[in-house]
Amino acid sequence: MLRVEDAQVSVEFTPELLNKFADIVSRYPAGKQKSGLLPILHETQAVFGWLSVDAMDKVAKYLDILPIEVYEVASFYSMYFLRPQGKYVLEVCRTSGCCLVGAEKIMDHIEAKLGVKEGEVTADGLFSWRGVECLAACGFGPVLQIGPEYTFYENLTNESVDTLIGNLKKGIKE
């Protein structure tokens, strides 16, 4: 999955980001700083859009743990991206409850509208999309979310999806 050109991307953590890391680590008992790994990876991905090897190595260094301890976590959890994504990743719930109210048709519509298959990025770099598992909003389906804030959209229709994508192209989220 990992492409060579992706592996060479290097990153710089700003003082602001490092402050966030420090705040996270302060929550745990002395010596248990590894507990901060998941939240720190979220903060890192929120800044860079995905987790490059260099970013993961720098997180490992920050937490004083081995790089492999970061890789194994980043690859286990579905929210972490190990390669670049669109600026907006549309994540549609594909599980039973939402399928009963049309989630599959919404995914077909998104695929047609964006012109890219699940997991691919549009040519302008703005969008990618994928199906994800139940998002705990089954009564309000179909639903989708967009990171890094995980803004949430419920009761989707083709029209509301069109509006959403149109707005995102103008840089309007919400």
């Binding site: 590894k34 286990f76 139940c134």
Partner: protein, 453 residues
């Protein structure tokens, strides 16, 4: 009309703020517990209440609390399970979104009872908006002296933190959750030792569901005996039900345990019946992991008694004709739903979410997904149904954690109750891709309760 213990004030404007929540009697349980009760007395009230864990397993909360080891000089932890990833379940997200202080209040009172000075709420990472809501609520409570050092002058200290997950259903399993909270992959631990002896950082730990913790608030305010008067038999109190699927009024409802399923489904106070004038075909009553039942078995038991929304009544008939309360994730399937496609959808879910530690679960869920995929897409064989049952039996009971069982039961129950629909998929492969089997004989046998215009 049932009593609302958790959601009574959910529609009050501003109830998500400390001041409005407090003006509605919020944080009274903290005052009562910290100023007038011993930790042991709080545990005693929870025991008396008969509260059973709302996360899925239904284990009595008071009893779980009394198992917590208390070695001298060792920290104890309370960890709230807000991973809510069981398909069909969306009550915890709802509660945290609209009335976050109820959870914070429950965490303070419960942490006091357990002697925990640091507690965590582990929220699934996708719920970033809810994480922000909880962090704001915690900051407010702290500013008002309900968290931090020497709470309300009682000498009791508590810090409360919110921890995000990374997107993995398995982290709802309590030992996987603790691994994840320690910054690792969510691989469930082999038990024993149980978390009550060796949990977070090897210290004694209690893990409880959001709704269980929230229920501690009315239990302490009104007393365990009062709480136990609600409900039926060993199913005491109220329960949040997440109702979704083909319903007129999907949503989160607080019911008195013991409410007839029929009333829950069809009365206007609750789900209001099936959407679009359709008829009910099947129900998953407690989240995707519990056996699916055809309409005729969810409304009445085999003995022709009305089925009730209670732990005992839903389980009546065992796996032959019953199901389970689970997490209260209630999914209604109408006459257009395809049971084969739905079973494949669930199997894909469990295959995707298996942590991969045990071969029966890792390999078995993959096989089930594959076989169900070919059945759904018209390439199945008549022997596939027995193959699926065989695989499910080889997973069940042979794994480290209950995800294996949770993956096996939906498949086994779908074949048990809907075998002819599966067979139709095999014998009419081409047709099965373009149209559904329909209601067949699974419909509810009662006079049609709704008038179709």
């Amino acid at each position: 009309m049932g009593r609302k213990l958790l959601l009574e004030h959910i529609n009050v404007p501003g109830i998500n703020t400390f001041d409005v929540y407090r003006s509605k009697g919020g944080y009274a349980s903290v005052e009562k517990a910290l100023k007038t009760m011993s930790p042991e007395a709080v545990v005693e009230e929870v025991k008396k209440s008969g509260l059973r864990g709302r996360g899925g397993a239904g284990f009595p909360t008071g009893m779980k609390w009394s198992f917590l080891a208390k070695p001298e000089g060792v920290a104890r932890y309370l960890v709230c399970n807000a991973d809510e990833s069981e398909p069909g379940t969306f009550k915890d997200r709802y509660l945290m979104t609209y009335i976050p202080h109820l959870l914070i209040e429950g965490m303070i009172t419960s942490s006091f009872a357990l002697g925990a000075n640091t507690s965590f709420i582990y929220v699934r990472g996708e719920m970033m908006p809810q994480i922000r809501i909880l962090e704001r609520a915690i900051a407010e409570a702290k500013a008002k002296g309900f968290l931090g050092k020497n709470i309300l002058g009682s000498g009791y200290d508590l810090e409360l933190y919110v921890q995000p997950g990374g997107g993995a259903y398995i982290c709802g399993e309590e030992t996987a959750l603790l691994e994840s909270l320690e910054g690792k992959r969510g691989n469930p631990r082999i038990k024993p030792p149980f978390p009550a002896i060796a949990g977070l950082y090897g210290c004694p730990t209690v893990v409880n569901n959001v709704e269980s913790i929230a229920a501690v608030v009315p239990i302490i305010n009104e007393g365990g005996d009062e709480y136990a008067k609600l409900g039926i038999g060993r199913s005491t109190g109220t329960k949040l039900i997440s109702a979704g699927g083909n319903l007129k009024k999907p949503g989160v409802y607080e019911i008195d345990l013991g409410l007839p399923v029929e009333e829950f489904l069809y009365s206007d106070e609750y789900c209001g019946g099936i959407a679009n004038g359709k008829r009910l075909k099947a129900v998953v009553a407690g989240g995707s992991s519990v056996p699916i039942l055809p309409a005729n078995l969810i409304l009445k038991t085999l003995n022709n008694e009305p089925r009730l929304m209670s732990y005992e009544s839903l389980a009546d008939g065992g796996f032959v004709s019953g199901t389970m309360m689970g997490s209260g994730g209630f999914i209604a399937y109408d006459e257009d739903a395809c049971i084969v496609r739905n079973t494949w959808n669930f199997a894909r879910f469990y295959h995707h979410e298996s942590c991969g530690q045990c071969s029966p679960c890792r390999e078995g869920t993959g096989w089930m997904e594959k076989v169900l995929h070919r059945l759904e897409h018209g390439h199945g064989k008549m022997s596939d149904m027995d193959l699926l049952v065989d695989v499910s039996k080889k997973i069940e009971g042979n794994t480290i954690c209950p995800l294996g069982d949770a993956a096996a039961w939906p498949v086994a129950s779908a074949i048990r109750h809907f075998r002819d629909e599966f067979e139709w998929h095999v014998s009419n492969g081409a047709e099965a891709v373009t149209r559904n089997y329909g209601l067949a004989h699974y419909a509810d046998p009662l006079p049609k309760p709704e008038v179709v215009a």
